[in-house]
């Protein structure tokens, strides 16, 4: 009974869980197209500025999360140049919204996703793509029908890394969009808050368990998907 009480989650905590899942999922999905593009460019491109792009992609990994958060705040905040631009032209607002949390998580997970996808692209046998071209498939078709299915395991690996990172990320998020319950307070931020006050340990532990369970479930699902994808590819 006592144990169950301890495990019982408050409404605010449920909100944080739902928000975390939403933020992580959106971050993962929204960054996917861009990550694919970046990975293709890095794996296949031979353009000037490739190293620059590569560096840029890795930046969120290299910088302390707080710095990334500050940079996001300066760029995408309500007063930031990009933030102003997006708000005016697309109506998209990041500052102090869950969308901002998703942006922060997406940015933090971006290098992980790009690396995974890039590694898969580099492992694709170019001769298959050539064969498809001789059968009449344009580069876009080749990508959609040959490259994409072959790199699926890498894409899935990248997505799960990004998702897991998003579940654990709080430094950049809390710095960028603060820690507003119901709007920007993700599970990780809630855990962090618990660690900041006396007696918060058990609350932190409880939420950590929730976070781990959710991420593990996602991980298992991704493994299963990746295995299925790999099986299709190897035909076993």
């Amino acid at each position: 009974m006592a144990t169950l009480d301890w495990l019982a989650l408050s409404d605010a905590e449920w909100t944080a869980i739902r928000l975390s899942l939403k933020v992580s999922a959106v971050a993962m999905l929204a960054s996917l197209p861009l990550a694919l593009l970046a990975a293709m460019a890095l794996a296949r491109g031979r353009f000037w500025g490739r190293s620059l792009l590569n560096g840029l992609v890795h930046l969120p990994l290299i910088l302390p999360p707080v710095v990334t958060g500050f940079l996001l705040l300066i760029l995408f905040g309500r007063r930031g140049p990009v933030g102003t631009f997006l708000e005016t032209y697309t109506g998209l607002v990041f500052s102090f919204r869950w969308t901002g949390a998703a942006l922060a998580c997406a940015v933090m997970g971006f290098p992980l996703m790009v690396r995974s996808i890039r590694l898969s692209i580099e492992a694709v046998d170019g001769r298959l793509e050539q064969a498809a071209a001789t059968l009449g498939a344009s580069p876009a078709w080749v990508f959609a029908t040959i490259t994409l299915p072959l790199i699926l395991p890498g894409i899935i690996a990248g997505m799960i890394l990004s998702f897991a990172k998003a579940m654990g990320e709080f430094g950049a998020t809390i710095t960028f969009v603060s820690n507003i319950p119901g709007e920007t307070q993700t599970l990780s931020a809630a855990i962090y808050t618990f660690t900041q006050v006396p007696g918060g340990d058990s609350g932190a532990l409880r939420l950590t368990l929730v976070s781990v369970v959710l991420s593990m479930a996602a991980l298992l699902l991704s493994e299963w998907l990746a295995t299925a994808a790999a099986r299709r590819v190897s035909g076993t």
Binding site: V66, G69, F70, L73, I74, G77, R78, R79, G80, S95, F96, I174, T175, S178, N179, I180, P181, G182, T184, Q185, Y192, T193, T195, Q196, V197, P198, G199, G200
Partner: protein, 233 residues
């Protein structure tokens, strides 16, 4: 109606949550609090955060936002105070006589002195100032382990990684695995204060009422229950 949004230093969470509940019950108005490091909150306010109230963990960040005229000067006041204490693991709770030139070095016995990072964390800055004032800083400077925040410093002591730590009384009191072995004289460091103010951009009609409630006698026991000294009159 829109909620009143409070940006508050993370260490206030327990106390302020209770105060907010009380206000909500009393006034019927909703309030929401975002707890983070004072530095992050200050920068967010600078970036146009939709907050009504800011409670900083030290004067420096309140001064920072004040310097950019982001707060209503007339609403600013010091809300809370705290005391700085020396803690040791419960297993080794020999009291320490804190005074001019006291022998901290020997008591450390080669171990680390856990405290907030002395350049950045408020508690660390106060601690350094106190030790300097008491003339022992130079003897232990090399032994300081600067934690990211007071809670982390406390953790180092409670897990016996460090034999001594300098933390706030509020944190120390709530942790049974550490014992307060001495309290720093108030005179040895700048006053430990939590300033509060309404932000210039706040348009919330209840912001002032909330501020008044937080400073009211009704809130006082809730803060004191967490070990804070209430400075508001």
């Amino acid at each position: 109606a829109e909620k009143v949004t409070v940006f508050a230093a993370a260490s206030l969470k327990n106390a302020l949550d209770a105060v907010n509940d009380a206000w909500q019950q009393q006034s019927g108005h909703a309030v929401t609090a975002s707890y983070a490091a004072s530095s992050a909150l200050a920068k967010q306010i600078e970036a146009g955060a939709p907050a009504d109230i800011f409670i900083s963990a030290d004067l420096a960040w309140m001064d920072y936002v004040a310097g950019k005229t982001l707060i209503r000067e007339d609403s600013r006041s010091t809300l809370l105070g705290n005391r700085l204490v020396l803690v040791a693991p419960a297993a080794d709770a020999r009291p320490v006589e804190i005074g001019e030139g006291f022998d901290l070095k020997t008591r450390l016995a080669g171990g680390k002195l856990a405290m907030g990072a002395v350049d950045s964390v408020p508690a660390g800055k106060y601690g350094k100032a106190a030790l300097e004032k008491l003339g022992v800083w130079s003897s232990v400077e090399k032994d300081v382990a600067g934690a990211e925040n007071v809670r982390a410093a406390l953790l180092l002591v409670s897990k016996s990684e460090a034999p001594l730590g300098i933390v706030y009384e509020t944190d120390a009191a709530a942790d049974p695995s550490v014992k307060i072995v001495g309290t720093f004289p108030e005179s040895s460091h700048p006053p430990i204060v939590y300033p509060i103010a309404i932000l210039s951009e706040s348009t919330h009609p209840e912001a002032a009422a909330y501020l008044d409630f937080v400073r009211s006698p009704a809130a006082k026991p809730l803060f004191e229950a967490q070990g804070f000294t209430v400075l508001a009159k």
